[in-house]
Amino acid sequence: MNGHGLMSLAALLMLNVGLSGQELSAPAPTSGTPADMVLIPSGVYRPLFRAASEPKEVSVQAFYLDKFPVTTGEFLEFVRANPRWRRSQVKPLFADQSYLKNWKADLEPGAPLNAAATDVSWFAAKAYAQWKGKRLLTVAEWEHAAGAGTTRPDGENDAAFRQQVLQWYTTLGAAPGPVGANPANFWGVHDLHGLIWEWVLDFNSAMVTGDSRADSGGLERGLFCGAGAQGAREVANYPAFMRLGFRSSLNANYCIHNLGFRCAKDL
């Protein structure tokens, strides 16, 4: 906890230095912001794929977002308080056999406590959020928050930021390290890129078929070979395609070595 606080303070200081003299500025923390969360202002999310009947833009209301992904230590507290989410007791319906697969025992994690919690199912992530008095965030909220670069809210217009993000997605998977090692983004949120994949509430809402060429926009599935980009808003946004593809490959009971989560909260 203290470590995170210090790091985010440092990040905020850096952010202010970096922004001096620029028009843009991050919102000042409000007095009502819960600990270790930041306010993400309202905005607009433009879905990568949409059917003709669906809106071009989805408005996103302001919300609070965890600065960091949930850590192994925090998840340990959760399973300590909720025995039915311990590895030995979890129901197969809610988590497959890979659930917490690197833990040595029910209350003995296999990774450092500050490492991101992974190998958790969507059900487990949702239960954790509920236990915390929070909730999982939606695809629209996640993409809105993660669209910010380190120095500006519209990261998609920052070529260097885009290359950096793409590089993470094309780097091979490794055991997730400690949270907070990546610099905060414009809103003060860490690790949305560069550490793990993250569960979202409606991970299966923009279900693609898995054949990228067939997913030519919303529900149209008749086209092949490159047609996948036909209905896409931004064909150059490869990381967004990869997130969409990754989410679509999941079932809610899947547990994957580099898939974790973080929580959101309404204002």
Binding site: T171, D211, I256
Partner: protein, 518 residues
Amino acid sequence: MIQMKRHMKIATFLGISALPGFLLATGVGFAAEPAPSGTESAVLTEAPAVPPPLTRRHATNVVVNLEVKETTKRLADGVEYPFWTFGGDVPGNFIRIREGDTVEFHLHNDPNNKMPHNIDLHAVTGPGGGAESSFTAPGHSSRFSFQALNAGLYVYHCATAPVGLHVANGMYGLILVEPKEGLPPVDHEYYIMQGEFYTLGKFGEEGLQAFDMEKAVDEKPNYVVFNGSVGSLMGEHSLTAKVGEKIRLFVGNGGPNLRSSFHVIGIIFDTVYQEGGTAPTHNVQTTVIPPGGAAIVEFTAKVPGNYTLVDHALFRAFNKGAVGRLTVSGPANTLTYSGKQADTLYAGDGKPAAPASKLQAAVASPVASTPITASLKPAASGQTDIPSASLSAAERAQFERGRGVYMQTCFVCHQANGQGVPGQIPPLAKSDLLMADKAGAIRGVLQGRNGEVTVNGKKYNGIMIPFGQLKDEQVADVITYVRNNWGNSGEGATPQEVNAIRKANPEVAGKLASSPFE
């Protein structure tokens, strides 16, 4: 006559299927199309190996287990890349089945992978070619089945969003659906697949390289290679055959963007099944293989020596890695190819400097004598180093690294053993100029050269392109290598020495040094 005879022997892949009536009449036919019987596991191989020909004469249920692995491997000497692979290697494992088989396909996604993946096999008849049914998260497996309705050689690849990236990272391979009659026997079958890679660093820039999306969208790769890396079919990895043996190449192109103009220097393909289909074409020099396409190429080794496999879009071969090698061993065949018989002066205007009669005599004599057994030099056995005995331990280490630079950068012109090309490319082996002027040699590597030089008393007037992108260490290593190899023995070069010359000769874009050896 020999040419005619060769054509007579051409095997007719699928020729029998044109005569179903005949087969029925003799009771050998498959027209009744019996249901597959039995079950077997497919043998999978890594390139350039091909699974053995199928000996059964009936359809069966074939189980294929293919695992997707994301893994960092060598792209070129000193260069690594985070590949996504089918089976751990680029290209993916070769799959061999028979027309009429029912395939139970299991796609496994390694639990340590980062990405979801799937597979589209062009041998599948059905939406997506299996892609939709095989979409698999890390740590999971998918199963689907299909009937192999059409014989041919087919590409398979990943089709997960964004599909171009998955293919650009190496996710492709070949599946052969043998015709019911099988393929005519040959002595060697090899698996070759071309693909291109888009890296942030330039060709040869050392270290772990990342994917460059802009180059991919612009279709401007840094690397165009056979079997997943520069040199994968060179040196000790060269394909081999003996004189008189029949060779069949299964050649695919993963792309993702470029067509391959597949050519083997010094070979005419007896038969090509273009686009991996079943119609044979004969006497082909270069066959076009589109991304997502394949070809079966057949020929007989007739003359011993080294044969270079290239994409005949030659800058890819010369500058981006698209070369491989077939080494044919066996007795000389000077009737089919004499080797060099004369080297005489030429005065221009169509007038030979030597008396015409003498020249003609020189050409005629080896052919007139017993041609097949004429004592020409034995076939070159590929690259052989002869390191100087006076190398220190440190120089010896430089020599070893220098070999990598040489084989990647220099050997295409100066040849495997530094012998050059008579009249065109000066030799490095026992070169008086190289040994007399080390600084000039370093400048030549950095800036290229243009103009006349004299080596061992012979004049050469060509262009050497600059290799200024090599690091100081690489230039020092390769200079040390060539100055202490093949009979040369002299002082090596240091990175400091190279750096000083580099600074003293600032690169002028587009302009070659008039002669680095001044």
